[in-house]
């Protein structure tokens, strides 16, 4: 992925605090709702899952696809976004 979306840049630019899941790049209204149904109501909960999977992009994208029905691009975008956030703030 060569370019990043504005959402991605916004998310990676600062600590996530209490942002909702929809602040994650690649997670829109629909996917956000699905995640919230499963208890992933905040971005940091999703980050927790990402960290539980040892920041493994492959596993995380697969999980996101399974859990929410996200497509490959959305999942990869979300994963990249979280990884870069971790690189910056963890």
């Amino acid at each position: 992925m060569s370019t990043t979306s504005r959402k991605h840049r916004d998310f990676v630019a600062e600590p996530m605090g209490d942002k909702p899941v929809t602040a994650l790049s690649g997670i829109g209204e629909v996917l956000g709702e699905k995640l919230e149904e499963q208890g992933f109501d905040k971005a940091f909960v999703v980050l927790g899952q990402f960290l539980l999977l040892r920041k493994n992009d492959e596993l995380f994208t697969e999980w996101l696809k399974d859990a929410t029905g996200a497509n490959a691009r959305q999942a990869a975008s979300c994963s990249q976004c979280l990884r870069e956030w971790c690189d910056a703030f963890l």
Binding site: L53, R54, N56, L59, E62, W63
Partner: protein
Amino acid sequence: MPVFVEDPSQFSKQRLKAELITHNVELPARESKKEVLLELYLKHVGVKPTADFSSDEEEDQVQNGNDEGDKPDPDMTDLSLLTDEQLKVKLLKYGVKAGPIVDSTRSLYEKKLQRLMEPAPEVKLNGTGDAGQYSDSEEEQDEEEEDEQEAPEQSDPETVTELDSAANQLKRSPGSGECSYADSSTCSTFSITQLVEQGSLLVAVVTASKCPLTVIGFTLEPANDLLKEMFPDAEVTPFGISATRRRPIRGAAGRPVQFKYPLPDFSPASVERKEISRRLVPLWIQTVIFLIVSSLLFLIYMTFEEFSY
């Protein structure tokens, strides 16, 4: 796996433990009962259980496991029956370092393990199947395609020079050269001999320019430019190699040495004149400087003498 004649329920506790260890099954807590061990054994080692110790469901699973071929590995049992620890160990066997296996990650790891167990061992060695992504053949194809795209653009100046060249240069013309090099199938009908037979340069040029797959010959073009820069008056040949007349070596064979810059002459008269001029000009300056320096030294000496007393 062949069915054992022995009944596992009659094994000793030690034997059961040993069997479990050899089959890479995690042993339960230290002081567990034989029943527990036996159950584990039946579950993982996959011998047909005796009636009492397991449910029908389990029996089916075990049989399924056996049906999948004589695998020494008892992995083919249902992954959901594995404990977290076992799942982790198995993933580690496949080179996957699993993170914590909790509710939200377990299904993922199970799936991953399933995937790892399915393909042949050779595929496993290559990772998770992205071997095709980095294959060499693809790149080569791309390069070839690029070459193909470049070829038509560059063919125009080539044909012009060909038209200008004489007919007896036909054998060495770029067209013939490139097509003898280019191994592509579309050029296969175009050869040097044919070219010579045709005799007519124009025909050859036309066929050469029509040929869409001219790969190698054109790569000579930039080299030609460089050579042209270096030797602007040199004759242009299709292969970039030109035979030029060797330049005479100055000073050899009685030829007078011609230097680019005039040499200073070392005749005795001029040397003397120079020496005189060198000495005449700075002579009085030299003495003045000497006087100044000596007076300075003297002054310094005097002042030191005064201070010392």
